[in-house]
């Protein structure tokens, strides 16, 4: 297999005296989607933020993060991003006081042509609402804007943190499609809770538990093995509880077992 696009070795993050990550190592393949899984609070977001250099001031990062031979940890965030590292944050972080158009304009990078047509083709809503203040967009619309912002440019690697959170099933499908298409040209490191989306997109998986890597390997393999998913993700299988309805919306009754979980 070819050289990984991102190599994380022995990454440790301490924030305010707490060891959030303790020696995390994994790689991101140069094509396709690598998914980062784990329960709430295991440090998925922290990992992504450490890679783009956004660890809070009272935090401390150790270890190596590199693409090829180039170390990323020593570089400032805006340089990394200009160098082709796109980041979609967990809580969207659209600029509430700016209009949609202004939010997009801000994401334009010097010296490249912004691909507005690509973004608007994916999210026509953004075009329609270009003059609305981003703060008054609905949650899902904000998520579209956040993704749209990075897609405006060509990237070498995308870090995407829970892009489908709070989206309507239909939009989840759409976003998944978008990411799938994006992943054809750009490798993506994705944090995602929606296993249906994971199954559709992911090639490799990294599972975190308590600040350490608990498992790495082929994502589809992980999802197929009930024992593995149960022990690592706490769900019976990929077909398990959550989001089953998305997959089987045509048969609502089947998706709503009376006895619950």
């Amino acid at each position: 297999m070819s050289e990984p696009v991102l190599t994380v070795e022995n990454l440790s993050v301490r924030i305010a005296g707490l060891h959030i990550l303790q020696g995390v190592s994994f790689t991101v393949a140069p094509t396709g989607v690598t998914v980062l899984l784990g329960r709430n609070g295991v440090g998925k977001t922290t990992t992504l933020r450490a890679v783009v250099g956004l660890t809070p001031r009272n935090g401390e990062v150790r270890g190596t993060v590199r693409t090829g031979a180039q170390s990323l940890l020593s570089q400032r965030t805006h340089r990394l991003v200009r160098g082709g590292l796109g980041y979609v944050p967990e809580d969207r972080c659209v600029f509430a006081g700016l209009t949609v158009a202004e939010n997009l304009r801000l994401a334009e990078r010097r010296g490249t042509r912004p691909a507005y047509d690509r973004v608007f083709a994916l999210f026509p809503e953004l075009d329609r609402r270009s003059r609305q203040r981003a703060g008054s967009l609905s949650g899902g619309q904000q998520q579209m804007l956040a993704i749209g912002r990075v897609l405006l440019n060509d990237n070498r690697l995308l870090l995407v943190d829970e892009p489908t959170k709070g989206l309507a099933p239909k939009v989840v499908t759409e976003v998944a499609e978008v990411l799938e298409r994006v992943a054809e040209s750009v490798p993506v490191l994705l944090v995602e809770q929606n296993l249906a989306v994971v199954r559709r997109l992911a090639r490799d998986a990294v599972v975190l538990a308590a600040g350490r890597v608990a498992w790495t390997g082929d994502a589809q393999e992980l999802l197929l093995e009930t024992a593995l998913t149960r022990s690592l993700l706490g769900v019976g299988s990929a077909e398990g509880h959550q989001h089953a309805a998305v997959a089987t919306a045509d048969h609502p009754a089947a998706a709503a077992p009376e006895d619950g979980s």
Partner: protein, 376 residues
Amino acid sequence: MTEVKSPEVPAPPAAVPDELTEQPGRWSRLRPFLPLVALAVALILPYSTLHLPGIFEGALNSPGTLQLLAVCLVFGGLAAGYDLLFGRTGMLSFGHALYFAAGVYGTDILITRVGLPLWQAAPLAIVGGTILAGLLGAVALRTVGIAFAMVTLAFAQVGAILVARDFGGLTGGEEGLPLDVSGLPDGLVGVTNTVNLYWLALAYLVVVVLVVHRVSGSPTGRVLAGLRDDERRIGVLGLDPYRFKLVAFTLAGGLAAAGGVVYCLIVGGASPHITSSELTLSLLVMVVLGGPGTRWGPVLGGILYMYLDHRLVSFGTSDAVNALPAFLSRPLSQPLFVLGTVFILAVYFFPGGLASLAPRLALLRDSLRPGTRRQG
């Protein structure tokens, strides 16, 4: 960034707010008693003839030193009261000086112009200041954030203008109004009785600290802390944010007015300095210097600020400074220059204020101790 192996230390439990944990250790076992120790020192102080050259001009029990300490104590209390607004409720008022001034001028006018005895004038001034705070707060609290800061500033500015204009011939304008001491108890008059003013100031400080601690540990205090974080949320929980903010504002105003009464007696009069917005700003400085929202920070900040404010004046004219080359001695002979610089440095080097110093020192000590070495 260099590649450093992370030491294999088990993750400690999640961060815990300072006041909720008891960490074992000599220091922390002593901690609850520190305030008592401080109080004991404050009580013994007037009986001591100790000389602390460079720190105080005279012996500890000399009138000059006691006077300075009294002023410092009052401001310690004032800062603690202001912290009830700023540090504990998150309300940035730029007009707190007004309620302090109401106490000072209220007492002074009632005694000097109206001729009331102190025991009537003082409660009247405090009640008046509290009512004033309640009324103006009721209006100002219709706004939030910077707008609130500006409305309170505006009210205080009107107060300052009225005082400076010598409205109704009551305030003495820019010259101020010396207190007519003929009706005061003898124990509060004259240099030899400065110690009584000191007791008064100490009592004021103790009362304020007690009130602020009780209130912030009370159910109301919990709501105030919630207001600081998210006012909308408080409303959805079924509590009227406006009402609680008004309570805090009025209470803080009343405490400030009481401080004004004491200050008026200590200084023996009123002058328009105390109506200026700079006073509110310096209260803010004191609180931040000490550590907003902490138990002792604002008190320490207030005392230290006032101490520096008074002492830097003589520092600036001292021989040590005059002996320096002109480019150093000139700025250093400006008290405000030194105060401003000290303040800026404090913001940088003690973020979180003096109150954060103890934990930081503890951290330092830990890191020096072999075995539990921490990096960074």
